[in-house]
C-alpha cells in the first residue's frame, strides 16, 4: 500500500493538522455508529477542549464532500447530502447455487449444529471440500464451534442472512415432516421412524460444542 505522503503544497493544502484533530477524525471515521462526547473525551488527552476541537473539525469538513454532523446528540462523519446522487450503486448479478451446495445447505439448516461427517452421513455421499466453502461465502452458513469429540470437528449452522434470504421469520418456520409430505416434497413410502428434526439456530453453543478459538494452542488438532 502506498500512503500518499507527498509534501503539502498546492490547492487544498493546509497547515499540519494537530494530533487531537487527527484522533477525532480517525475515531469518527472508523466508528460503526455515531459517537457520544463521553467516548470522544475518553480517547483524547486529558484537559482537551472537546467543544473547540469539534468546532475546528466541523469547520475543516464544512465545505468538503464529507461533513461532521450531530445526530441524536452524538457525532458522526457523513457524506455531504448534496452528493448522494453522484454515488449510485451498480449491483452485480446474483449467482445461482449448485445442486450440491443447495443440498448441503438444506442439511445444515435442518440438522444444525452439524459437522461435515454428519452431513456426509445424512447425504450418504462425501462432500467435496469446495461446497461448504461456497456456502460460507454466501454468508448463509457459518462455523459455530467444535464438537467435543476426538478430532474436534467444526460444527456448522445457518446465519441471520440465511433467514432473511429465504424469507423465514425464524428457523423453525422451515416445514416439518407432515408439512413436507403435505406439500408433496416427500412421498408416503417412507419407512417407519423416519423423522425430520425441528431446526434450531440459537447461537449459544450446545453442551457438546466448544468455541472455535483459533488462538487456543491446543486447538490445533492438525499436529498429529
Amino acid at each position: 500500500m502506498t500512503a500518499l505522503r507527498k509534501p503539502l503544497s498546492i490547492v487544498g493544502a493546509e497547515p499540519l493538522s494537530d494530533e487531537n484533530q487527527r484522533i477525532l477524525e480517525a475515531i469518527l471515521f472508523a466508528a460503526s455508529e455515531p459517537v457520544d462526547e463521553k467516548q470522544l473525551i475518553a480517547r483524547l488527552p486529558e484537559g482537551t477542549d472537546l467543544k473547540e476541537e469539534l468546532r475546528k473539525l466541523g469547520d475543516h469538513y464544512a465545505a468538503r464532500g464529507v461533513n461532521l454532523v450531530r445526530v441524536a446528540g452524538k457525532w458522526a462523519l457523513r457524506t455531504a447530502s448534496d452528493l448522494g446522487h453522484r454515488i449510485a450503486r451498480d449491483t452485480p448479478p446474483p449467482r445461482k447455487l449448485s445442486r450440491a451446495a443447495i443440498e448441503t445447505l438444506a442439511i445444515v439448516a435442518y440438522h444444525q449444529p452439524v459437522t461435515r461427517a454428519e452431513i456426509e452421513e445424512i447425504r450418504g455421499v462425501t462432500i467435496n471440500t469446495g461446497t461448504l466453502d461456497v456456502l460460507i461465502q454466501t454468508g448463509w452458513v457459518r462455523l459455530r464451534g467444535r464438537r467435543k469429540v476426538p478430532g474436534r470437528p467444526v460444527t456448522y449452522g445457518t446465519t441471520e442472512q440465511f433467514l432473511i434470504h429465504f424469507g423465514l421469520d425464524q428457523i423453525d418456520d422451515l416445514p416439518g415432516l407432515d408439512e413436507l409430505k403435505g406439500a408433496g416434497f416427500l412421498d408416503d413410502r417412507l419407512p417407519a421412524g423416519f423423522s425430520v428434526p425441528i431446526p434450531n439456530d440459537v447461537s449459544t453453543l450446545r453442551d457438546d460444542e466448544e468455541p472455535l478459538e483459533e488462538s487456543d494452542p491446543e486447538l490445533d488438532p492438525e499436529a498429529k
Binding site: A31, S32, R78, R95, L186, A223
Partner: protein
C-alpha cells in the same frame, strides 16, 4: 502422552542445549514431522543449507526411539517419517549401487533439506505478513455503512423451493436405500505410502522402504498379516497401473516400485513368475 510446555521449545539455543538430557519427548507440540525435523535441525546450529541430513536422521530416530522407550504413543505421520529416515540413513551409509533410474541417496537427502528450507522460508514469510499494519488493529476502514455505498458484494441466490425439495429428495433417497459408510480402522501400508509422499515426495524404491514402514508402523505380532494384506493391495495397484512388481525367483523378495508418471504410450509391465 507426556507433555512439555510449548515454551520449552522457545528457549534460546544455548539454554536448550543444557536442558537436552531431560528433553521430554512430546510429539503433540509439533506441527507434524517436518516441524519436528526443523526444530532438531536448529540444534545443529548451522545454516539450513549446510545441515547434515545424516545427523538429522539420527537425531530424529533417536527422538522417536526415546518416545517409544517411554511407551509414548507416536502419531503415524511421525512413524512414517521415521521409517523413511531409517531407509535414507541406510542408503547414505552404504556405497551406492548403480541404479540409474533412481535418485541417489545424496539427491534424496538434498530434497529433504530443500523441503525444510522451503517450510522455514514460508514461516518467515508468514511471520513477515503478520507483522504488517493490519486492518482492525493498526488501521481501520470506514465503520459506518452509508446508504450511498457505491459498491455491493457478490450476491448468491436460491429459492425456498430449491431448498425444501433438495432436503426432501436427499432424505428420501437415503431412507429408501441402504448405504454404509466404511470406517477406516487401521493404517494400511497404502496409506502409509500416501503419507510418505506427502512428507518427502515420491519414493522410488518401495520394496526396501516397506520393510522400514512395517518395522515402524506395525505391532510385531501383526507384521505377517500386514505383509500379506499389503501384498494383495500391491497386486491391486499393479492392476491399476500404479505399481511395478518383480520377483527374481520363487520365494525371492518381491521388488515393487511406483510406476513412473503416467505416459500414455507405456504398457503395463508384466510381473515375472
Amino acid at each position: 502422552m507426556s507433555r512439555v510446555e510449548p515454551s520449552d521449545f522457545e528457549l534460546p539455543e544455548a539454554e536448550r542445549a543444557s536442558h537436552e538430557p531431560q528433553l521430554v519427548v512430546d510429539v503433540t507440540g509439533f506441527e507434524g514431522p517436518l516441524d519436528l525435523l526443523l526444530m532438531l535441525a536448529r540444534t545443529q546450529k548451522v545454516d539450513l543449507s549446510k545441515i547434515s541430513i545424516l545427523a538429522l536422521a539420527e537425531q530424529y530416530l533417536d527422538f522417536i526411539r526415546r518416545a517409544r522407550d517411554l511407551r509414548i504413543e507416536v502419531a503415524a505421520d511421525y512413524l512414517v517419517m521415521a521409517a523413511w529416515l531409517a531407509y535414507l540413513k541406510s542408503r547414505l551409509l552404504l556405497p551406492e549401487a548403480a541404479a540409474p533410474e533412481e535418485p541417489s541417496a545424496a539427491d534424496l537427502a538434498a530434497d529433504l533439506a530443500a523441503r525444510l528450507q522451503h517450510l522455514e522460508a514460508i514461516r518467515r514469510a508468514g511471520a513477515g505478513l503478520m507483522t504488517r499494519d493490519k486492518l482492525g488493529t493498526e488501521f481501520f476502514m470506514r465503520g459506518m455503512p452509508e446508504e450511498n455505498d457505491p459498491l455491493e458484494p457478490q450476491q448468491f441466490t436460491a429459492t425456498i423451493y430449491d431448498l425444501l425439495s433438495a432436503y426432501a429428495l436427499q432424505r428420501q433417497k437415503k431412507a429408501l436405500s441402504h448405504h454404509t459408510v466404511h470406517q477406516r480402522v487401521v493404517w494400511s501400508l497404502k496409506e502409509a505410502r500416501e503419507a510418505l509422499e506427502r512428507l518427502v515426495g515420491v519414493s522410488q524404491d518401495w520394496t526396501r522402504l516397506d520393510t522400514y514402514l512395517i518395522e515402524y508402523l506395525v505391532e510385531p505380532a501383526m507384521r505377517t498379516t500386514v505383509l500379506a494384506s499389503s501384498f494383495s493391495a500391491s497386486l491391486e495397484m499393479v492392476k491399476e497401473g500404479q505399481l511395478e512388481l518383480q520377483q527374481e525367483s520363487a520365494f525371492a523378495p518381491l521388488w515393487l516400485k511406483r510406476r513412473p508418471e503416467p505416459r500414455p504410450e507405456l504398457q503395463v509391465v508384466e510381473t515375472k513368475q
